[in-house]
Symmetry: C2
Subunit: 353 residues, 2 copies
């Protein structure tokens, strides 16, 4: 593989405009009023351009869950204790979490990457134990990561995409787990968008209004500490990000460079997508946004990218669960696009002249 | 079967509050922040109350497509010629329409009921040829149906539900096909809600603004003609409804009385649901609303019932296509509800005290 800076210079794969045009023309001929399948048409056309074929498919789904602990959890920014990160990794390995149930229902392949829990983990099925550190550093006091840890986290994302490609994935889904990671994601988005902490601090797994106010102060404290040292998106990611957020960012950039369509999940993954788009022009071409989380900062981050997700189901779980929930819509969009009769084939009259 | 008036008096099946409470408690124990699956939790709990079990399922889906022609099509209210109704029934029979592709992907059973096309139809697979009349009468000049035709249309809906129940369906989906039927649905909703035509006239399959203005005038003309004779929801359905809209109404009421959950599609089916709720108190308990159509009147009709659909994908096709698109979400909601580990089983810590 290239060095980090070389890798970031590699261009994003171009969309296939011939396939896109063919898909648009196909949609016009199908036995329905033009445009009447709404966003299902848009998805099929977008996937056609991404996959370079008039007949896109989303049968093979690869799901990577990136997990890590956050030093900032020491500042009482989460409704849940930090031990839950490790406990949930075990739950993923045993098949009991939401994403397990969804992956099974979708016949998707699922892997978990532990990038750095505070306590060590025994070997577990489906879990890659990378453990770059015992959680990130508490970014209210120092940078969350050093350069090497950032590089290894981004690399972990790139490696997950390599595995997805080797497995023949047609769509890449990433999720995250890490107590404290909405704090980190909010701090990162504030740094990237130049916003104050209060605009992006939210309840996460379930803080009350006093908890949100405290979280907002912690984020602002971190921003004030690091702002002078943040001269690039990579600086922001290193200073206030997390291992799993960097891995998400690396995986998304990697997909766009390799030409593998990505289905983005919720708030934290959208912040990683924002960071990816700040690092590499054109990566957004490769992203489909699955759902609008009820975490209040999500809409701001989505608006900053000018994107509109498919679903709004008041979800806020993470783990890739919103993206997984949208997978059947992507599949149905493909089935409709590929399987419906044309006006000519079915001898159905078109609109009046 | 009972006579029409006797049948309307039969109570709607009660929801099972014990099963609902058990489902709510189950959701609280699953390994996720409480409420974080949003509307997927709500669906699972609602289905549990409807199916009378802590573990609801939506594996077996029955889809009935009610098709008919509309006399008002003579007033140039549609972007498509009237022949399309018959042509689309043939397309359904050959498997080329959107709903065919969706039904196949969902492994749902699909039947088409021709309640009255202008021209007669040859025998076709999966199509019940009832043909109550050669289209409805042009309701700008007289009532769309007589009492007997209305009764037979409602009865056709009841019979479809009998077939669904006999087939073991766990969820009932109905769709419609009929050139001119957004005009009829808008007139019916105006009559039920006491609104002027302009508030509910929309583009349907694709009218431009001049076409919508003309359609609005036609609807208002019909309302002015019939308003004095409309003393009940059944009068409204008979005067300005359509055979397929009456069949939808009958099927929805029948489901609620039999205790079969219904997934409502888009604009026309929502108007039928509104009519059903005007005819029988409590039927709304049995309805899940699948999607918000871009037909502008849909939101007004949904608001009138105080309901919020699951999806907003800018669809406006009809045929039950929006409801079918939402089926995978219902299924995933059930899988998550039934398949996730509890905090106790997975040894995951709950929220901090």
């Amino acid at each position: 593989m290239h060095s980090l800076s070389e890798w970031l210079q590699v261009s994003v794969a171009p969309l296939n405009e011939v396939a896109r045009q063919a898909a648009i023309e196909r949609q016009q001929k199908l036995t329905k009023p033009p445009g009447s399948l709404g966003r299902l048409e848009e998805i099929a056309v977008h996937l056609a351009a991404m996959q370079g074929t008039e007949e896109p498919t989303a049968d093979k789904i690869h799901i990577s869950i990136f997990a890590a602990d956050h030093g900032v959890a020491a500042e009482a920014v989460s409704a849940f204790p930090q031990a839950v990160t490790v406990e949930m990794i075990r739950n993923f390995a045993r098949g009991g979490a939401a994403i397990n149930v969804l992956a099974k229902a979708l016949a998707a392949s699922l892997e978990i990457i532990n990038l750095g829990t505070v306590t060590d983990l025994e070997p577990l099925p489906q879990v890659f134990n990378l453990r770059i550190g015992a959680g990130t550093a508490n970014f209210t006091q120092q940078a969350a990561m050093d350069e090497q840890q950032l590089g290894r986290s981004l690399q972990a994302g790139r490696q997950a995409v390599q595995r997805a490609l080797q497995g023949g994935a047609q769509l890449f889904v990433a999720g995250e787990m890490g107590i404290g990671n909405t704090t980190s994601a909010s701090a990162l988005a504030c740094a990237l968008l130049g916003l104050p902490a209060e605009s992006l601090a939210g309840p996460g797994t379930g803080l009350d209004s006093a908890g949100i106010l405290h979280k907002s102060k912690i984020i602002q404290q971190a921003l004030d500490l690091h702002i002078a040292n943040i001269r690039s998106p990579l600086d922001a990611l290193r200073c206030v990000g997390g291992y799993e957020i960097a891995a998400l960012t690396g995986s998304y950039i990697s997909c766009a460079k390799a030409g593998l369509p990505v289905l983005i999940d919720g708030y934290i993954t959208s912040v990683a997508a924002l960071c990816a788009s700040n690092l590499c022009v054109d990566v957004l071409d490769w992203f489909i946004f699955s759902h609008a989380s009820v975490e209040p900062g999500h809409q701001i981050v989505l608006n900053a990218m000018g994107v509109q997700p498919l679903l709004a189901l008041a979800m806020r779980l993470g783990e890739g669960s919103g993206a997984a929930t949208a997978v059947p819509l992507i599949r149905l969009a493909c089935h409709l696009h590929n399987g419906m009769a044309t006006f000519g084939e079915a001898a159905v009259s078109g609109p009046k002249e």
